[in-house]
């Protein structure tokens, strides 16, 4: 039996325009000691799954077990073995980093001395020493996330839930948090992670479930998914839109799949197998045909590409797309 098991989870919210299905029969299974990433755009249902598994909300239908405990029937037993760090840092702004962690320790009933000792240990481990004795109010977003994450680890949880741990962080804080998370799972903690970034899922997880409309639409390792959606993308941007048809043909010749012309009519991209070499050929052929370029590059596939391949449509979150471009750069 896997350590996290959810079956046919449904969560329906009433709304003025009819019921909204946040989850629509989601199954989930995470073997002990592995890292699973739920990958999907905003509103796909990722947070809802985490909230159900961490006892915050009740599903409309379905079952959820962690470590053999029925989460819906015995939430308190479940809470003893989990650690949760949400999308919004759940720290008390008026308490210091140390006080926040100590309070969590007390509420895990570790006792006064052990709570203090564990808080100090986490402060040291997360390199929060400087910030440990100042109210959280003055901390940066990255620092808050680290305190929040430390809060999730106070009781040495058997299962860790991280809901979009790096959303909204600058690239440097993201890298540093990735390092911390990698260290954490090295000792066998089971981790369920949600993310909007394919790269993050790729970096941190053993297994990825792609979520859309409250259900899993694809599942596998990062490599399996990439094989399904193609590897790198070669992207060229034309000076003259009238060259688009000719350029498209050239990209099609060296790419793996149909080239796609962007909304502006000047940028064209195609999935490629041997990235650098394909780009070389493409550039050389474009040069021979006398097609002028503004720009040419290669990029890794994004969530958007996964979506386009799996569902035939793009994700609708423009902020996220902008962010992925920045992350891939």
């Amino acid at each position: 039996m896997a350590i996290i098991e959810a079956e046919r989870l449904k969560k329906t919210y009433p709304s003025k325009s009819g019921p909204v299905h946040a989850l629509d029969g989601m199954d989930l299974s995470v073997p002990q000691g592995t890292v699973k990433a739920l990958l999907g755009p905003n509103g796909a249902g990722k947070t809802t799954v985490v909230k159900i598994l961490t006892t915050l909300i009740q599903p409309t239908a379905g079952t959820a077990h962690i470590n053999g405990i029925d989460v819906l029937r015995d939430p308190k037993a479940a809470r003893r073995i989990i650690g949760v760090s949400g999308q919004y840092s759940a720290v008390d702004e008026n308490l210091t980093g140390f006080e926040n962690l100590e309070m969590v320790g007390r509420l895990y009933h570790l006792g006064a001395r052990e709570s203090k000792r564990r808080a100090q240990e986490l402060i040291d481990q997360f390199e929060l020493t400087e910030a440990g004795n100042r109210p959280v109010k003055g901390f940066s977003g990255g620092m808050r996330r680290r305190i929040d994450l430390a809060g999730a680890l106070v009781n040495h949880p058997k299962i860790l839930f991280l809901d979009e741990p790096t959303t909204g962080l600058d690239p440097r804080s993201r890298l540093s948090l990735w390092g911390i998370i990698k260290d954490l799972v090295r000792d066998g903690t089971t981790l369920l992670l949600t993310t909007q970034y394919l790269e993050e899922a790729d970096q941190l997880s053993d297994d990825i479930a792609v979520i859309d409309g409250g259900r899993t639409i694809a599942e596998g390792t990062a490599d399996q998914l990439k094989a399904q959606i193609g590897g790198h993308r070669a992207v060229v941007s034309l000076v003259d839109a009238s060259d688009a048809a000719a350029a498209r043909q050239i990209l099609g010749r060296h790419g793996d799949g149909e080239p796609v012309i962007g909304d502006d009519g000047r940028s064209i991209e195609v999935a490629v197998i041997d990235g650098p070499r394909a780009l070389q050929y493409i550039l050389s052929d474009l040069g021979e045909s006398g097609i002028d370029l503004h720009d040419a590059c290669m990029r890794r596939p994004s969530l958007d590409d996964v979506f386009l391949t799996l569902t035939g449509r793009r994700t609708e979150d423009t902020d996220e797309t902008a962010h992925q471009k920045e992350a891939a750069a």
């Binding site: 039996m1 199954d27 299974s29 006892t55 308190k76 989990i82 509420l107 109210p135």
Partner: protein, 292 residues
């Protein structure tokens, strides 16, 4: 995608899920309940300590009210059978502690907005500890307010004309009523979308309740329907009971309405009712709330 056979489940897991609220915690959990409640109280008080503006407000406002009302209206408002300062103080005490209790509402709403409620709800702590800690903090703040107001009142000539025991009972009654009311506000705080709503709503509702009462003027001087409202207003009962316990009634006639004739009993019943109704409602509500 793997579908997992339901093997290894306990038979009890196959029973339909219960939606009834959890039964009250057994006595074995009492120590945990106490310690969790204290941990959260401490957290709230630290917050108070670290936000000096809030603390200054909590200390200065009662002083300001006592001085403004006694010095400005003292010369203009006549209360037959009593000196206005003597008459007024119980009204100021009651109004201040009632407004003090609204803090439970806005603070719960704020905690919900900040996401810290989600942290608490994923910890294996006592299910009422956050609420207990919240209302306890109001109690501490209100106790502080009452002490400050009494001190200021004594400076402007207000006196307790009964015994020490009776005066303590008066303080106790103010705190009991406001503590019970904190639970009402806590439920509201968990039911609204933003902390601002609580602040606006409590002003809209509590100002009429505290002003259409015997807190600042005699109910008999109010126009017909308002006089009836004032006589049956729970705030009036609280003010009347506290006035009696402090010995500030002078020879002012007691209106001929049951709650006014039995003010102390009315307050005790009212406070008990609020607790009996709102504590379970709050605990149940808390078990299902989550940020955003």
């Amino acid at each position: 995608m793997s579908v997992i056979a339901p093997e290894g489940r306990q038979p009890e897991n196959q029973q339909p899920r219960s939606h009834r609220p959890a039964p009250l915690e057994p006595p074995a959990d009492l120590a945990m309940w106490f310690s969790d409640g204290w941990t959260v109280t401490k957290r709230n008080l630290t917050k108070l300590k670290r936000s000096p503006d809030m603390l200054v407000f909590a200390i200065l406002q009662p002083i300001m009210f006592v001085l403004l009302f006694s010095q400005i209206y003292g010369g203009s408002i006549q209360v037959e059978g009593s000196n206005y300062t003597q008459y007024l103080m119980a009204g100021i005490f009651a109004q201040t502690v009632i407004f003090g209790s609204t803090f439970s509402g806005s603070a719960m709403a704020q905690d919900l907005k900040d996401g810290i409620i989600d942290r608490f709800r994923t910890l294996p702590m006592s299910s009422s500890a956050v609420l207990v800690g919240r209302t306890n903090s109001d109690l501490v703040l209100n106790t502080l307010s009452v002490i400050i107001m009494m001190g200021t009142g004594l400076l402007v000539g207000w006196r307790v004309n009964t015994s020490v025991g009776s005066a303590l009972a008066g303080i106790g009654l103010l705190l009991l009523f406001s503590y019970s009311f904190s639970w009402v506000m806590a439920l509201l705080g968990m039911s609204v979308k933003s902390p601002e709503v609580i602040n606006n709503a409590s002003f809209m509702i509590l100002f009429p309740f505290t002003f259409i009462s015997n807190a600042f003027v005699q109910a008999q001087n109010l126009p017909g329907p308002l006089e009836t409202f004032a006589n049956w207003n729970p705030v009036s009962a609280l003010v009347q009971a506290v006035r009696e316990l402090f010995g500030n009634t002078g020879t002012v006639p007691v209106p001929d309405a049951w709650p006014m004739q039995n003010a102390l009993l009315t307050v005790l019943i009212g406070a008990t009712l609020m607790l009996v109704v709102f504590v379970p409602l709050c605990v149940r509500k808390f078990a299902s709330i989550s940020s955003r």
